[in-house]
């Protein structure tokens, strides 16, 4: 009963869209993004500890955090929250510090579907297609093992 993730990453365009529905009210989904002690519980790959240096999910706020892997390797990310409207919308910058100065702009909408359900839609725009592919791949390096384990299951099915 897991809701599917829809990803649109058009070839040749430095753009990714990701859409997911949740069986939870829009206020709860928004809080999971806004409150630092909730954010650290789900953002980032499995098995990685997340430490927030800063998390101010408000208009003109910002963030910096690290994902620390099982072997102690660190992946730092930072950005600013340009606009945050409660239970509705946020737009932020996103920089993986392993690729400094390559900054994506990410928007997300929190859409109330009624009946305690929410659609989360995120879209990221990168400076170039290479930046999109390279940065996303690097930013995800830490998550590859979990991804592979899941893929194992898919292939074995």
């Amino acid at each position: 009963m897991t809701n599917p993730v829809t990803i649109n990453a058009p070839e040749g365009l430095p753009f990714i869209e990701i859409i997911r529905e949740f069986d939870a009210p829009v206020e709860a989904v928004f809080r999971a993004h806004a409150e630092p002690e909730l954010v650290t519980q789900w953002l980032g790959p499995n098995g990685y500890e997340m430490d927030l240096e800063r998390w101010d999910f408000t208009t003109q706020g910002g963030y910096r955090y690290v994902h620390r892997g099982p072997d102690g390797e660190e992946y730092w990310f930072n950005g600013t929250f340009h606009t945050v409207r409660e239970n509705e919308f946020a737009v932020q910058t996103f920089e993986f510090e392993g690729f400094p100065d390559v900054v994506a702009i990410e928007s997300m909408t929190f859409e109330d579907l009624g009946d305690g359900r929410t659609r989360l839609r995120g879209w990221s725009t990168y400076p170039s297609v290479e930046a999109r592919d390279g940065m996303v791949a690097s930013g995800m390096e830490g998550g590859l093992r979990e991804g592979y384990e899941r893929l194992d299951g898919v292939l074995a099915a």
Binding site: V5, I7, A24, R31, W42, G143, L144, L151, D152, A156
Partner: protein
């Protein structure tokens, strides 16, 4: 890990092996479980020898292995090799699916300490909503 040259060679061999439609169908069949050469040859209108050749190419590329199981010698898919070929977009999807499942658990209170948020926890969220600079 991403720029290991020997890994590059392996990728090249794997991509060349997969450039053939018969070999791709063999891989697809093996993704559902090991099979003998006879079983693999069945759907194709080519000789068993030709299918054996294709399997050798896949074996050389490291995509499949064969075990000694009496005379059957079933062919197995080496999933780890195939995974190395999947594009970043698939990994991106896998990571986000996993991450959103964690968020699901958190939202439904199946997550660890998040269950507390159901019960109007006094230390909680409402206070910090607007004021903190």
């Amino acid at each position: 890990m991403l720029f290991d040259p020997s890994a590059d060679d392996r990728l090249d061999r794997a991509f060349m092996a997969l450039a053939d439609p018969v070999r791709r169908r063999i891989i697809a069949r093996l993704s559902r479980g090991p099979a003998t050469v006879n079983e693999l040859a069945e759907p194709f209108e080519i000789t068993k020898q030709a299918v054996s050749k294709h399997i050798q190419v896949l074996e050389h590329a490291g995509l499949v292995t064969r075990t000694r199981d009496a005379q059957r010698r079933p062919v197995h898919l080496d999933a780890a090799q195939l995974e190395a070929l999947t594009a970043w977009i698939d990994r991106y999807r896998l990571i986000h699916e996993q991450q959103y499942r964690t968020l699901d658990a958190l939202l439904t209170g199946r997550g660890t300490d998040a269950a507390a948020s159901d019960t109007d926890a006094p230390q909680g969220g409402a206070a910090q909503e607007a004021t903190e600079p």
